[in-house]
């Protein structure tokens, strides 16, 4: 598994198109053997970053080091990394075996060895026996496996995957997530995947870099990203969150106290930070970490709110209640498991409800 030894070191990497910076001074370390995800909304620069690692785009500035060697100026066909393209880019005029063996064949590997290694790679992606087929005889999922085998057969130091699951249907996508993780475990190659789908990144990656507007906003393992987002962008982008604005009243001994004009009581959160008194800050609170009750709950002095249920979104296993705690502020989302059948819903439209949370839930963010 991951060690601290980085296989890719990116420093100050920038790609400009005219005055627009698609990737803006990015610093990033990717560790040997990890499953790394670049996550962000469309247009955030994640694909450009991946293409620069592959060598398909030349950076405007900065360096990319692969195992300590600067590869920034190495052309794409000389870099020991391989890529699985979004459209899979399986050569339509070659058989599956010829597709997989292409990289070896042009590298001058003998015919028998090419055939042998291509068949091994096909077996690895569970396509043994499909070698003679033509790409137009394969399903989308099978074509993707061919693209995977074709990239893996060259034993790259890093495998790059550009939105590999976006073209598959929902069921197949879930299955492929698991298979990709298992595949990565068995070959031990560092995987870097680009995705805009947070559940994909959260479920597969060892670490995730969240990108926005060409910059990396946070790099962390999935759970840390979800529970301790570094800023409002990450908090809002990953999952669902309530952001409540306030002023820092005090901050010491690992306790942050926040006074929010929209809440009747101060917010007290256990968090190791140092914010100056009076700083504007936001409480980021996940909907599932809020208790919703008809009667007041807790000690009644902090971490509470009350309001009226204005909307209910039924999601099957959970329902999300949108509670108005003050006029002209965003509704607070509270998610609650549907333990009973929905006909016996505990809360309904117009109910007066009390919300509470503990000091272990949520984080206070100053940016």
């Amino acid at each position: 598994m991951s060690t601290e030894d980085p296989i890719i070191e990116i420093r100050g990497l920038t790609k400009r198109y005219g005055s627009l910076a698609a990737v803006d001074a990015v610093d990033l370390d990717i560790r040997r053997g990890e499953f790394f995800a670049l996550l962000g909304p469309s247009g955030c620069g994640k694909t450009t970053l991946l293409r620069m690692i592959a060598g398909l785009e030349m950076p405007t500035g900065g360096t990319i080091r692969l195992e300590g060697n600067d590869v920034s100026a190495v052309p794409v066909n000389k870099r020991p990394v391989n890529m699985v393209f979004q459209s899979y880019a399986v050569f339509p005029h070659m058989s599956v075996l010829d597709n997989v063996g292409y990289g070896l064949r042009i590298a001058g590997v003998t015919r028998e060895e090419t055939r042998h290694r291509a068949e091994e790679a096909l077996a690895l992606v569970k396509l043994a026996g499909y070698g003679a087929r033509r790409p137009d005889q394969l399903s989308g999922g099978q074509r993707q496996r061919v693209a995977l085998a074709r990239a893996l057969v060259k034993q790259p130091k890093v495998l790059l995957l550009d939105e590999p699951l976006s073209a598959l249907d929902a069921k197949l996508r879930e299955q492929m997530r698991l298979e990709l993780v298992n595949l990565q475990d068995s070959v031990g190659i560092t995987f870097v995947i680009v995705t805009h789908d947070q559940s994909e990144a959260l479920s597969m990656a060892d670490r995730i870099a969240v990108m926005d507007a060409g910059q990396v906003r946070q790099v962390a393992p999935p759970a840390e990203l979800y529970e301790f987002p570094a800023n409002r962008f990450v908090a809002d982008f990953i999952g669902s969150v309530n952001l409540i604005e306030g002023q820092v009243e005090s901050c010491d001994a690992g306790i942050v106290t926040l006074s929010c004009p929209d809440l009747p009581a101060p917010v007290v959160i256990r968090q190791q930070v140092t914010y100056a008194t009076g700083t504007t800050a936001w409480l980021a609170l996940r909907p599932e970490k809020i208790d919703i009750t008809h009667e007041p709950d807790g000690d009644g002095t902090s971490n509470l709110a009350h309001g009226v249920v204005e909307e209910i979104t039924y999601l099957g296993e959970t329902s999300v209640y949108h509670v108005r705690v003050a006029p002209d502020v965003p509704l607070i989302k509270v998610s609650s498991a549907n333990l009973d059948r929905v006909t016996r819903r505990r809360f309904t439209w117009g109910d007066n409800v009390h919300l509470s949370w503990t000091s272990e839930c949520g984080v206070v963010l100053d940016r």
């Binding site: 979004q86 292409y102 693209a147």
Partner: protein
């Protein structure tokens, strides 16, 4: 069972539509059908049917001038097709792959021979070869060089247009994937781009071939005193009298041209089906 009412797209069930269709076919194909039919007519004149014969085909085969003209035409067609295909493909790839100043102007100028009236091309070619003093008394097959050059210049834009259209559907990730797997620019061209362009190349080449084979106007202006091509020869035979021998020779040309065109259409059709399958 009552007949269903005529739907908006049931063109073939409307009487006036059928009549229009019939008239169109008669005007288009009656002359050609007559030409072919009378090539088998056992009469010296093309007016009354006097029974079936193949003797005018024999006569045409025995006519050495005609055969020489036919060989000339085929030689020119093969040579100009080869050059026009390579040139047209390179132009198409250039226009598709690169950005350079004046690209739009270049693209327009490249396609000019498609729209310029043939007679103007012919006169221009004649003036050009006369001006530079292109020798007209070389030995065969070099005696055909002027005509071949003229044919290349009007047929390569057709190749370029066809190949360019094919390239529009190219998924650039295919080229990138090959590069990513270690291919050089040349290997990408050879292993990915050419196989992809294949049907377009064949269609473009067939187009160039038929264009060259039956060209009259430009050839007439650029042929030297001793080089005669098939269409020019047929024209000179017709000037004396329209014998069934001319019919026979023309029939051979029609069959050849139609066969090549059908092949080109079939190749394109097959590719479209394949592309649709791959996309679906």
């Amino acid at each position: 069972m009552a007949r269903a009412p005529i739907g908006p797209l049931d063109y073939t069930r409307r009487t006036w539509m059928r009549l229009t269709l019939l008239a169109t076919f008669v005007f288009l194909y009656a002359p050609i059908a007559t030409l072919i039919a009378f090539s088998f007519n056992d009469s010296r004149r093309n007016i009354v049917w006097r029974g079936f014969t193949l003797k005018y085909y024999e006569q045409a085969l025995d006519n050495e001038d005609l055969i020489e003209a036919f060989v000339n035409s085929l030689t020119i067609a093969f040579a100009s097709t080869l050059i026009a295909t390579v040139l047209g493909t390179l132009v198409a790839v250039l226009l598709w792959r690169f950005r350079f100043p004046g690209k739009v102007g270049y693209e327009g100028a490249m396609a000019l021979p498609i729209v310029i009236p043939e007679i103007c091309m012919g006169v221009a070619m004649m003036a050009f070869f006369a001006r530079i003093g292109w020798p007209s008394d070389m030995v065969w097959p070099f005696s055909l060089s002027a005509i071949t050059i003229a044919h290349v210049s009007f047929s390569f834009p057709f190749v370029a247009v066809v190949v360019r259209a094919r390239l529009e559907g190219f998924n650039r990730e295919l080229a990138e994937a090959a590069q990513d797997l270690g291919a050089t620019e040349w290997q990408v061209f050879r292993d990915v781009l050419i196989p992809f362009m294949g049907p377009g190349l064949v269609a473009g080449a067939l187009l160039a071939f038929t264009l060259s084979l039956d060209d009259f106007v430009i050839t007439f202006f650029t042929s030297g005193p001793n080089t005669v091509t098939f269409p020019v020869k047929v024209y000179s035979m017709v000037r004396f009298s329209v014998t069934p021998e001319v019919n026979a020779a023309s029939t051979v040309l029609i069959v050849l041209t139609v066969a090549l065109t059908v092949t080109a259409l079939w190749l394109q059709h097959r590719t479209r089906i394949k592309t649709a399958e791959t996309a679906g």
